[in-house]
């Protein structure tokens, strides 16, 4: 099949970008969305043009590196799917597809579809961990965790840090990302000693990075490729309130 593309091109952070039109012929329905971009880029290189820069790595939906905003939706039209796992069988022959980078003040564009998400790393560095040095651990089974809590903790820990929640939110809020890490650790006995300091430190850093506030539209949950639940945000808000009251 044939796909028409409108792709955001931008030389670097400073320059102004715009949309460029491309057509990719002979797209197979078994191709992933990124493999279609591979085909486009091969053609561009052969023509002597610069290929479209985009982030990608594992191509199996787990590294969180791919980040395309497709037809107005983070990671495209399929629920619970990263761009690399989106296949062309979900598009129609002759369709025009608009592809943009994540758009958020805290995620500046580096080139074309590549953005800088290091703000997420800095939020984790501010407190998204349990302080345990190597060699300090007790026997793993000396810390039983109720299965239900372990499962909830896992659901939150499944976050891949791709930033789709921020891209999908009209406020560019990072609450889903931050709350996923806060919840994962708050649900485990190991996470208790630092529970309230952690949530304060991470929220503080989140605000410093320039992410917007949460207004409960739920766009983050709807677009999250790992379907992280918005109830994590409620859990984080509760812990944050408790921490503030205790202060």
């Amino acid at each position: 099949m044939k796909i028409n593309l409108k792709v955001w091109r931008q030389a670097n952070t400073q320059s102004k970008g715009d949309f460029k039109d491309y057509t990719v012929n002979e797209v197979s329905e078994d191709m992933s969305f990124l493999e279609m971009f591979d085909v486009l880029n091969e053609e561009l290189v052969r023509k002597g043009e610069e290929p479209v820069a985009f982030d990608h790595d594992c191509r199996e939906g787990i590294c969180g590196m791919c980040s395309m905003y497709i037809n107005g939706r983070a990671h495209g039209p399929e629920q619970g799917t990263t761009t690399c796992q989106l296949h062309m069988r979900h598009f129609k022959d002759g369709e025009t597809v608009v592809v943009e980078p994540w758009r958020a003040q805290a995620f500046p564009v580096l080139k074309d579809l590549v953005v800088d998400r290091s703000a997420f790393d800095r939020i984790i560095q501010s407190g998204g961990f349990i302080s345990v040095n190597t060699g300090n651990a007790v026997d793993a089974n000396s810390l039983p965790v109720p299965k239900h809590n372990a499962e909830l903790s896992f659901d939150a820990a499944a976050c891949i840090g791709c930033g789709a929640c921020v891209a999908a939110c009209k406020n560019a809020s990072a609450m889903l990302f931050v709350s996923a890490k806060v919840s994962q650790l708050a649900l485990l006995p190991q996470g208790q000693p630092e529970r309230y300091n952690r949530v304060q430190a991470m929220v503080h850093q989140m605000d410093l990075e320039g992410f917007g506030n949460c207004t409960n539209t739920g766009a983050c949950e709807a677009e999250c490729p790992k379907e992280i639940s918005i109830s994590n945000i409620a859990r984080m808000n509760r812990d944050f309130m408790v921490a503030k009251i205790a202060e």
Binding site: A11, E35, D57, G61, F129, G135, K147
Partner: protein
């Protein structure tokens, strides 16, 4: 130069404990002044960097991705082994050691593997303490499952995302140290050269992938944790960016390369769907706990899998290997699938696939139980193929997955260049000729948390008087110039073909002649073809854009230039090893039943290759493997 593996004296089970107690230490005041460079932020790199920083060293970490959390360890699915014996099924450190040695077809070092088994239990403790949400039983205690090549349940797992959860644990430990300014993190940086001064590794040249600028970084020691080289084959289960450049540059600076031909072809991957294919996706080995592998009994059977009645199906693994059945080691399962497909029993449109069928398990346990165990894998399969594996059997075929070979290291994990270390998949050390499932995560974290941070003291303790060397030292200038020259040369080829064009050609040759089955004639032919592709690459590759900006084509070209050299070394190693062992199956050496025939008299050694200059034959060094605690037998899983 002779190889000294520096294996400590004493009985096997006491070597590590005794040695640990005698390794020289660096006092805390001195650690503050010692800088260590870590290249790579996967399980081995992140855990080593975090642990070294906790101990007080100044650490710099480099990764090519936009965040250390993206390293490809994240994609490991099934689990991590540890000799906890929580299942009360007779497991022990010795048994894990023995299974790993046997699984590796007796081509790994006893002392290293025993140490791995010893520290395995502490890894689980450490990860749980970090908040890694492993699977649990209703009583709140940890759950285990079984993996290929063993008869106990010692594999800990976190749904089908064990690698992700372990990596995020290591990443959180690393992030904590970055936050404390004990680690300086360099995202979107690629190491392109090792800097050696007076024979010691003293730094690296890295390229900032956003600005294109070359940077010089000093370290008292350099640790490579840069992963394996499976992408030589173009199609593999590795991430697109996984590459061999750091290891290859180290090789060209004097680090020997161990057993480069030992590559693991994983039996259960989603088959290739067409020429556009950019990578292959693994379906976890854990699926073989409940899935049954079969092909039709009739050649070229045109019927759909679900339409073929039970008595017309050949469960060939259960038939050939009744003791282990579907859970035979990876090399054996892969070869058996290839054998059936080559003989005309393959399924699907390409006929290069076999079925992995869950209908029996769903009947026995119910769909819910299967969904709880493998739900995310089934979803992933459906996304990629458009087929529902709850209703029809999965189609699978082997794919390149892991490289057991890598930089040769001694017991301290130091390469033949002093002060240059290699950990995790980047080294050759623990898996011999075949890695067992759930052992890669174990090795990466063992090296990073519990081995390297201690053994590196043997080198650094002698270095406490060495001041940081300024990066205007001529050795840095020279190394940077070498990188600059290579980049200039690539940019100036200005040919007509893309980087991927050459990479795909190389991959096809390697898969055809140095893949699951190899023979002397094919290998020689492949060697010539690799040389031709390399020449064509340097004459005709086209890299648009500039070198002083974000340029993914240039990044790929630099990596492929190295694959084109490494591929030839892999072939040379495969040609040298006139036996079949583990993942290295030389068709000339098999028994009547088609099983691999080792030659212990002549090949019980590690082949360590020394670089002798461009376009010159590398020199082979042999590290004799001595087995004092296990008896070498023909592996049998029957």
């Amino acid at each position: 130069m002779s190889l000294d593996s520096k294996i400590p004296e004493g009985p096997l089970a006491e070597k590590w404990t005794r040695y640990k107690a005698t390794i020289p230490l660096v006092n805390p005041a001195n650690k503050r002044h010692i800088e260590v460079i870590v290249v790579g932020s996967g399980l081995a790199g992140a855990s080593a960097a975090a642990s070294l920083a906790e101990m007080g060293y100044k650490v710099k970490v480099f990764c090519f991705q936009d965040s250390p959390r993206r390293a490809h360890s994240i994609a490991a699915q099934g689990g991590i082994n540890a000799a906890k014996n929580y299942s009360n099924d007779g497991d022990s450190v010795f048994r894990l050691f023995y299974d790993t040695i046997k699984g590796g077809d007796y081509r790994s070092r006893e002392a290293n593997v025993h140490r791995l088994a010893e520290v395995s239990t502490a890894i689980i403790d450490q990860c749980v303490a970090q908040g890694v949400p492993f699977a649990r039983e209703y009583g709140g205690l940890l759950d285990n499952r079984s993996f290929g090549g063993v008869q106990v349940s010692r594999t800990f797992y976190a749904r089908g995302q064990t690698g992700q959860q372990l990596l995020l644990g290591a990443y959180s430990a690393l992030s904590r140290q970055i936050g404390k300014k004990q680690v300086q993190m360099y995202n979107r940086h690629e190491m392109l050269e090792v800097v050696t001064i007076d024979g010691k590794a003293r730094g690296i040249i890295a390229r900032d992938l956003v600005s294109g600028k070359l940077e010089r970084h000093f370290g008292h020691a350099v640790v490579l944790a840069s992963g394996g080289y499976g992408n030589v084959f173009f199609l593999s289960t590795n991430a697109m960016g996984s590459n061999a450049t750091a290891a290859w540059k180290a090789y060209k600076k004097g680090a020997f390369f161990g057993n480069p031909c030992f590559t693991q072809i994983h039996p259960t991957c989603i088959p290739v769907s067409g020429d556009h294919q950019s990578k292959l996706t693994l379906m976890s080995e854990s699926l073989r706990n409940d899935g049954r592998i079969w092909v039709p009994k009739k050649q070229n059977d045109p019927r759909k899998g679900v339409d073929i009645p039970e008595d017309e199906r050949d469960y060939y693994l259960e038939r050939r290997y009744p003791a282990y059945g579907n859970l035979v080691p990876r090399d054996i399962a892969s070869r058996a699938a290839k054998e059936r497909c080559d003989a005309g029993y393959g399924v699907g449109a390409s006929k290069m696939a076999v079925y992995l069928d869950f209908s029996d398990a769903i009947q026995r346990l119910g769909k819910d139980v299967i969904a709880a165990r493998y739900g995310n894998l089934f979803e992933m399969y459906e996304k990629i193929t458009g087929e529902n594996p709850y209703e029809r059997p999965m189609r699978i075929y082997p794919a390149v997955h892991y490289t057991m070979g890598g930089l040769w290291v001694d017991y301290n994990l130091m390469t033949t260049v002093e002060g240059l270390y290699a950990t995790g998949e980047c080294n050759f050390s623990d898996h011999g000729a075949n890695r067992l499932g759930a052992s890669a995560l174990m090795q990466g974290l063992a090296d990073g948390y519990f081995v390297l941070p201690i053994t590196i003291g043997a080198f650094l303790s002698k270095d406490i008087r060495t001041k940081a060397i300024p990066t205007d030292h001529p050795a840095f200038a020279e190394a940077e110039q070498a990188v600059q020259n290579q980049i200039n040369r690539l940019m100036n080829v200005k040919g007509t073909e893309t980087v991927d064009h050459f990479h795909k050609q190389l991959g096809k040759v390697m898969w055809e002649y140095c893949g699951m089955g190899r023979n002397a004639e094919g290998l020689k032919k492949g060697q010539g073809m690799v040389r031709e592709i390399r020449e064509a690459f340097w004459k005709n590759v086209r890299i648009p854009g500039t070198a002083d900006s974000l340029n993914p084509e240039l990044e790929k070209a630099l990596r492929v230039a190295d694959y084109l050299e490494l591929g030839e070394l892999m072939i040379a190693d495969a040609l040298n090893r006139n036996e079949s062992c583990g993942g290295h199956f030389r068709e000339e050496y098999q028994d009547e039943g088609g099983e691999a025939l080792r030659n212990d008299d002549e090949y019980t050694y590690v082949a360590a290759w020394e670089f002798k200059g461009d376009n010159q034959a590398p020199e082979l060094h042999k590290e004799k493997l001595i087995f004092e605690n296990v008896k070498l037998v023909q592996r049998s899983y029957k």
